[in-house]
Symmetry: C3
Subunit: 287 residues, 3 copies
Amino acid sequence: MTKPRILIQLDTDPQPSVFDSVVAVDAGVEQLFRHSGVTAEKVRDLVYGAIFTRGPDELKHTAIFIGGSDVAAGEALLVQIKRTFFGPMRVSVMMDANGANTTAAAAVLAVLKHVNPAETTATVLGATGPVGQRVVRLLAGAGAAVRVGSRRIDRAKDVCPVVAAAVPGAKLSPHVTASPADVALALSTSQVVVAAGPPGACLLPAEVRRASKTLKVAIDLNAVPPLGIEGLDARDKATQRDGQLCYGALGIGATKMKIHKAAIRRLFESNDQVLDAEEMLEIGKTL
Amino acid sequence: MTKPRILIQLDTDPQPSVFDSVVAVDAGVEQLFRHSGVTAEKVRDLVYGAIFTRGPDELKHTAIFIGGSDVAAGEALLVQIKRTFFGPMRVSVMMDANGANTTAAAAVLAVLKHVNPAETTATVLGATGPVGQRVVRLLAGAGAAVRVGSRRIDRAKDVCPVVAAAVPGAKLSPHVTASPADVALALSTSQVVVAAGPPGACLLPAEVRRASKTLKVAIDLNAVPPLGIEGLDARDKATQRDGQLCYGALGIGATKMKIHKAAIRRLFESNDQVLDAEEMLEIGKTL
Amino acid sequence: MTKPRILIQLDTDPQPSVFDSVVAVDAGVEQLFRHSGVTAEKVRDLVYGAIFTRGPDELKHTAIFIGGSDVAAGEALLVQIKRTFFGPMRVSVMMDANGANTTAAAAVLAVLKHVNPAETTATVLGATGPVGQRVVRLLAGAGAAVRVGSRRIDRAKDVCPVVAAAVPGAKLSPHVTASPADVALALSTSQVVVAAGPPGACLLPAEVRRASKTLKVAIDLNAVPPLGIEGLDARDKATQRDGQLCYGALGIGATKMKIHKAAIRRLFESNDQVLDAEEMLEIGKTL
């Protein structure tokens, strides 16, 4: 008899995410163990409980999901969880704190539908935040030249070597985006722009966007008005605006959800997977 | 394939109620997401998780249950949850903090078995508490004239307009019940008395009850001795005592449980229901 | 229709044990209600929720598991839970805080495979801890003479009357084990030694073990190096070393797990069982 599929939901927030739980159940999880307030310091025993309870052939029916609104805390959990594994004593893990990985993967998947990355320059606005950094990583990994935009040039400069270490050969350049003129300069030779700033902050005025003669694809990941790219609608999904293909946060939501569910299902195919941004983009490509 | 029935149990106590969880499972809930320590301030993200994860046609397979020992806290949750819904983005909700709604509905259902409410005057003792107020509301809504009894007349007077606002045309009168003589006066022209006071407080002495020449039905909702109505037994269920039909807390327990389970099942019939006291009484009538 | 099998997992730690949860699910539990931070003072309402929700014939489909790393806290929970039951209003309970009962039962089961307890003297090292005391109880209950070993003689002396009260006719003697010579003296006439000390503390040097001319069976319950018995391997399972049959913590792990799962299954056979160390040893004998 096959063992029930168990997902151990490790959430760093005070309440476990209902969103992540519903998606898990709808992706076929049979028993969901929900934990909130999880810290890297205290995660070891929870991981032991995952790896010491089923035989080697059955470990693939147990998996771990890392969630919560704090992406850095989720990353710290992932590091500690991987450290706790040894030899074949491991289970598959998916990290999607704040939806950062599924969101970044869905955004980049939308980009790849419309341009050849090897011939593309992309500007990422709000590139130093958790979603922004992942978008940079995935675009660079696909071969695009990426402008790492931040209102503070020192932050943009800090992110470049971090991404370069993860993506050998990445074509990256830091770019200050403190003023509309700064943004206009970046867009003047970009085919793609992705806005990954905080909710409710407009990073790209409409007239700057329209003024770009090279821009083909504009993606905004902010669902809370005012949007990150002025003139878009959160529901935009390859919507033509001023000769540009536009996507809003809700417009990439369906793809994000598909990636999320497919990733959960993938967890139960073997016991040795770590699903981070790159793996979720690959999963997205197969959908 | 039908989506599993998910119930999101939002409990305001430090531990989620086992009682509510068992009833949910026995009413057919397949996946129970249990939350404790839930506050109105922090409930929004949990509701978003409920409404943003399934398609419009599938939202009826997700529902919310509000529980916990603090009825006021549960009511505050319900207000906030309803505020978070918008348009078709909603799921059905049942509020039964401290069992107040199912208890009140079961009590009034017992009353309605024996009298014609339009021709009935009912006295509710302990009418200012959460269960008492609900009993007043349901009796008034059924057409009975209701005496709102409280040891403090100012409290009784405060409750009347609150209930009147919810039940247009309600026939209500505040009634002080500080002494046995006060209670005797109320009962001298009442056909029904319901005691909804705190556990272990006797609100109606046996001789006062026996002295009433009009009383047909006496219902006590207190299961902890001493009972709220002297001379009754908590297990009384339409038990004849001194020519009166008597019910104790355990005696209405079976009906309460049936209403509770039926209400849980009802939640999954559509995504737009709010099951409060009135809805539970209606559900009770169909059993 | 049969009611789903519900296990109420009451854990005294801040996070509920994943280990206990996986084992529960793999033993056939259909709905697992996980509670953490449970205290004896607040457990009553959780127990009421277990016993007041299903009919007498169905109560056997609900059960309680007590876990967490603090054995004393788990014992206090068990006392309070049993106090809350009355008449037929009860569900079966298994207590296995820190795995103490399943570990002790598995260790003693290994002993009984190789010796006739009525003709055996056994030394328990670290006998005053929660696992050690249980090993003493089970060995004494099986008829063996038991040396209750502790680095402090006063503690050893305190444990003897506690065990004797639980096991009438128990043959017990306190034994100081402060120095290797003390241990050597105990082992000089023992056929069995069980080391139940804290993780990472060596209680029995290799040369003392080898010097015993009577020792047949050596069991170490410590999985963290350095082991409690020098020269053993945590994976030893009836492994011959120096003419002695040796077991390590992992070596008895498979039996411990079988007892744990069988005990969970046993819970759902009736509603009146209390599964503590003795019951788990009996369950182990049937496997």
